[in-house]
């Protein structure tokens, strides 16, 4: 059985992948999650000690790095799609696991910025999305982390029976990537 390590930034990302993998009909036991607690940890080799133990002994066949694109205006080095992609390539090279690694950068596909919540919001009807964004704007919450949590909570409240619209074209790339990895 192919075992894939899925490396994510936070618990919400893990939860999202668990649901999506379940939706795709893949055996959830094939996925081993590593929550790295933040984007910056993705670019530190010491955070991969446990993963490399498993990879080195042939226990893990594939590694999927899932990182938020964020915005280059907030972080010149690691922010934005291109910078994130470049930094991920660099760390994968440093770890020497190019042959078994793949990446997915979370963002709103139309703007190539943002995070998991941006991807989810990009898949709901425009009026609904506007309502949520207006609320965030009016609430005057400043930190990015608060935004993520609020987006997530609002989404859960608004769509309790249909957590994510996986049929939306914005999920196609990710679904295809997962199906290819787990086939």
């Amino acid at each position: 059985m192919v075992k894939t390590a899925i490396l994510v930034e936070g618990k919400n990302d893990k939860e999202f992948f668990q649901k999506l993998i379940g939706h795709l009909g893949v055996d959830g036991n094939q996925a081993i999650y590593y929550v790295l607690n933040g984007k910056s940890n993705f670019f530190k080799t010491e955070k991969y000690e446990d993963l490399m133990l498993e990879v080195g002994s042939g226990q893990i066949d594939q590694v999927l790095f899932v990182v938020d694109a964020d915005d280059v205006t907030n972080d010149q080095k690691n922010g934005g799609y291109e910078n994130t992609e470049k930094e991920l390539t660099k760390i994968i090279d440093q770890l020497g696991i190019q042959a078994i690694s793949s990446t997915y950068i979370m963002c709103d596909p139309t703007t190539q910025t943002g995070n998991l919540e941006s991807l989810i919001l990009s898949a709901i009807p425009e009026p609904h999305k506007s309502c949520i964004e207006i609320f965030i704007s009016c609430s005057e919450f400043k930190s990015k982390d608060s935004h993520k949590a609020i987006y997530n909570q609002l989404y859960k409240l608004a769509y309790p029976d249909k957590p994510f619209d996986y049929a939306h074209p914005h999920f196609e790339t990710l679904k295809k990537k997962l199906i290819d990895i787990f086939k």
């Binding site: 059985m1 929550v35 000690e49 002994s57 042939g58 226990q59």
Partner: protein
Amino acid sequence: MNKHFLTEIQITRFKCFNYFHFGMSSLSRVNLIGGKNNIGKTALMEACYIHVHSKSINSMITAIINIKYARECLNIVGNPVDNLVYFLDGTQTYQAASNLLFTEFIRSEVDATKKYTFRIIHKSKEIIDKEINANELSIIVEQINNIKFIDNFGWTDNELTSAYRAIQKDDQEANLNAFIKEFDESIESFKVIGNKPQCKINGEYRDLVELGDGLRHYISIICALFACKDGYLFVDEIDNGIHYTQLDRLWELILTLSKQTHCQLFAVTHSKEMLESFARVAKKLDERDISYITLVKDNKQQIKALTRNYDMLLDSIEQEREVRGW
């Protein structure tokens, strides 16, 4: 880290480790071992036991016999074997090297003459190297009292009685009784009367054999930790018979007493509850001198040891990642 502790070991010949180089490193004072069935967890502990017990040729022979006897004892019930050579011959070859010493045993037969080769090289460079013809072999049992092995069948009355002497010697009877009372409050005290371990319940002493296996196992582990002062304790299936509500307390005792007695402990478990309890208690006590070792087979079907330290184990448990092999 105590000087006598094993920190790394390579086993090149012994049971399932016979055809390749197997290494295990970053060992701590308390080492818990996991992995799938039949991967070699018990064999690994047996190899370590023989290794540290090989202070001399006699103690090496004794360890090899002890291990074989523990495995065979049920098979020879009703058909006793009084010849210790039978148990020694159960092992063909053994070779291991560690941060402490190098040990080797070979049983060979050339021109119908059986020979035993023993080689022990201590870190101090002291070398014991001897080849003995079978007809000249005289087995002298030499048990090292602070190196003990509790197998998955648990200890006999004799083994427990022997370890209990360490409790008496250290005046620890009251502490042992308190620990036992925590396990089962109906037990007023524990004693060895004659050669029989007994528990006092409702004012009357009852043989330990009449009580549960979990209690025997629990008492054995505590006594062994005192008996193995400055030594080593190996426990197979450590959670055998222990109720889940007692697991945290058992680990508290193990982590505390092993530190107090400078005893290095190796234990095997399949139980997720036991593993989670190990991590939880280590965190509670901030006891970082622990390792969790998973035995796995790599793509070439060779056995590998994955050693997780305190931080790696706690992170894996908190993130609910399976670490017992798959």
